[in-house]
């Protein structure tokens, strides 16, 4: 029967089974590739992963000028860029989205431009970014920020149009609310949950844009390392980096879900 509930222990068991199956498939593939070439690094086994971890956590630089390990350097660079870029993009799109939802004269000129630009992948416009913001830190931040800005501003605007009813606004006016009060008390409170959901949806694209940019212009960061190491087939390092990225997305997702439950407990009811 469709959608019949299953007991809790079965959910957990099947979840664990899924993870193990994934590992088993990986192990099988790794073994098969070893038959093709016993020294293969493409689908490395446990031993190779150990070596990979040792290499990426070993301190770099000379004794006089020690530098942090590969992993620390890359994580620091990538997370900082991701954090700044997403933060900026979210703030901008919320402000613009709400302004568009509140005032028709703001929405009228912006809506068509934004829905047009939302469809263009920012990584395809690399030279334009070079002209506008150069190729250093600013570029990564701008690319992530603009990459998610257009899509998100559009959906914030859409959810205000769809979810915030005219009656609610009229009622607030009748009760004597000012414009800023309506924006905060009526609009903001209603669109906060969809905004949080939207941020969750944008974590993936934000990481894609950042990694693509790092692969092309980065001198450090996860995208840079993935490209450099996969070029010489050090896949043990690459896969660990990919796992870290996967978990980053997962944890980000959970945090936002938790935040939504805390901030808007009424939403799930």
């Amino acid at each position: 029967m469709i959608r019949r509930p299953i007991p809790r222990w079965l959910v957990v068991l099947l979840g664990i089974l899924g993870v193990f199956s994934l590992l088993a498939v990986y192990g099988g593939l790794s073994y098969r590739q070893s038959l093709v070439n016993e020294k293969q690094k493409v689908i490395p086994g446990l031993q190779a992963f150990g070596d990979g971890v040792t290499r990426m956590t070993a301190p770099q630089g000379s004794e006089e000028t020690p530098k942090p390990s590969m992993l620390v350097t890359d994580l620091r660079a990538t997370y900082w860029r991701l954090f700044l870029g997403t933060g900026l993009g979210v703030v901008l799109s919320v402000v613009v989205g709400i302004a568009m939802g509140a005032y028709r004269w703001i929405a009228a000129p912006l809506a068509p431009i934004i829905s047009f630009l939302a469809k263009i992948p920012p990584t395809a416009m690399l030279p334009i970014y070079f002209v506008l913001v150069g190729s250093d830190q600013t570029m990564f931040t701008t690319m992530v920020a603009l990459g998610i800005f257009f899509t998100m501003a559009q959906s914030v605007y859409q959810s205000i149009v769809n979810d915030v009813k005219d009656e609610a606004i009229d009622k607030a006016y009748t009760l004597g609310a000012s414009d800023p009060e309506i924006v905060y008390e009526v609009i903001w409170k209603q669109v906060l949950p969809p905004i949080l959901d939207n941020i969750r949806l944008q974590i993936g694209p934000a990481m894609i844009f950042l990694l693509a940019a790092e692969m092309l212009v980065g001198a450090e960061g996860m995208g840079y390392r993935i490209r450099m190491e996969s070029r010489v087939l050090n896949m043990s390092i690459v896969y660990i980096y990919l796992c870290i990225l996967g978990f980053t997305g997962l944890i980000g997702d959970w945090c936002l879900l938790w935040l939504r439950k805390k901030l808007c407990p009424w939403y799930d009811r």
């Binding site: 299953i6 007991p7 079965l10 099947l14 089974l17 199956s21 088993a24 498939v25 099988g28 593939l29 098969r32 590739q33 093709v36 070439n37 020294k39 293969q40 690094k41 493409v42 690399l126 030279p127 070079f130 002209v131 150069g134 190729s135 250093d136 692969m215 092309l216 212009v217 980065g218 001198a219 840079y224 490209r227 450099m228 996969s230 070029r231 010489v232 087939l233």
Partner: protein
């Protein structure tokens, strides 16, 4: 909890088990299998090539019918050698990955990049196709000489021939590479950064077609030095996996590639077909036209005949100076952990420059 749950669990397991057989067939279907055996059906081999003057030759060979890039179809020379060559025209980085993962039997690769995969897959260099004599260059905007470049970061692909050429030339000029920082950027991106006037990028080290493009499209740019200072150090070649070469039909595959390469070179030498061939190569190399291509083949000098190729491989300079220096660079920059053994006509080396196919091509005339 009923039986139905267990059916679901079983289905789940079966789905994974089902993956196995279909996965197993992949190596065969990609053409690196040993399916040929003793039947008349020719064995299938894969050559991965990327757009570069002396490698785009294989794209042209497919266009004029010497080879047929598809599996199961034979070109003129494939019929002669009774071997089915599958040509995969992909990105350079993808070429390296395909070769390293045994997905391709042979690859178009530079002498330097051979060392990385060779530590895990013993490799046989069968054919040097060209050498860079100006195709890799350091170009700057607002910097007029090497004195001015001191302390300024040059952008280019790290751990590639770009960085190799950059450091080698500096050393050759008696300068210390430590005074000239080099930082990673994709060559295409670096070229467009310099062309758009990005203030962070003042100097780049890239290869063709980016060298030509940048010098033309950025009037303020100036070439500081190029690989003509280190001729015959950056070698473009075709490398076959030792395992693939040992397979039935492997030698025919290598011979067929060598013959194809020289067949196109003859068409480039023949005044009747020279321009046409050059245009065809240009169409397979960043869509360059005839005039550009005439300059390109000056900067990427082809080894036009087996004799020229043999001369390189027998030269003391290349054997005892260039290759050891390249290996040294690879270890220093952590491209390889340990130097692979490099040999000339020595089957046990991890990188073996095998001249037998070239020699056969000379006597074949």
């Amino acid at each position: 909890m009923t039986k139905k749950h267990w059916i679901f669990v079983c289905l789940f397991g079966a789905a994974f088990a089902g993956c196995e057989p279909s996965n197993k067939s992949t190596p065969n279907s990609t053409g690196s299998g040993t399916a040929g055996t003793s039947s008349a059906k020719p064995a299938t081999f894969t050559l991965a090539w990327s757009e570069y003057p002396s490698w785009s030759v294989f794209g042209v060979a497919d266009e004029i019918g010497l080879l047929n890039k598809e599996a199961g179809k034979l070109g003129e020379l494939e019929k002669k050698w009774n071997v089915d060559i599958v040509l995969k025209g992909v990105d350079y980085d993808t070429c390296l990955q395909m070769y390293g993962s045994n997905t391709a039997d042979a690859v178009c690769i530079t002498n330097m990049d051979t060392l990385g995969p060779a530590t895990d897959r013993a490799s046989v260099a069968i054919l040097p196709t060209s050498t860079s004599v100006g195709a890799d260059a350091c170009i700057a905007v607002g910097v007029n000489d090497l004195e001015g470049l001191k302390g300024k970061t040059t952008r280019g692909l790290e751990r590639s021939v770009s960085q190799y050429a950059f450091e080698r030339i500096l050393i050759k000029k008696g300068l210390n590479p430590k005074d000239y920082p080099f930082s990673n950027m994709d060559p295409g991106a670096a070229a467009s950064a310099l062309q758009t006037g990005d203030s962070n990028v003042q100097s780049i080290m890239v290869w063709n077609p980016f060298v030509m493009q940048t010098l033309r499209d950025q009037p303020k740019s100036k070439k500081l030095f190029d690989s003509s200072e280190i001729p015959e150090e950056i070698i473009d070649m075709v490398v076959v996996g030792k395992d693939s070469l040992a397979k039935e039909g492997g030698k025919a595959f290598a011979s067929c590639i060598v013959e194809t390469f020289y067949a196109i070179n003859q068409r480039m030498a023949d005044p009747k077909t020279a321009d046409k061939t050059l245009v065809a190569i240009g169409a397979n190399f960043s869509s360059l036209g005839l005039e550009d291509m005439k300059q390109v083949v000056q900067q990427t000098r082809f080894y036009k005949s087996p004799e020229e190729a043999l001369k390189l491989l027998s030269s003391e300079e290349f054997r005892t100076k260039t290759m050891p220096a390249v290996a040294e660079f690879c270890v220093e920059h952590k491209i390889v952990e340990k130097k692979p053994s490099i040999g000339f006509d020595s089957a046990d080396s991890q990188v073996n420059f095998d001249t037998s196919f070239l020699q056969a091509a000379t006597s074949g005339k």
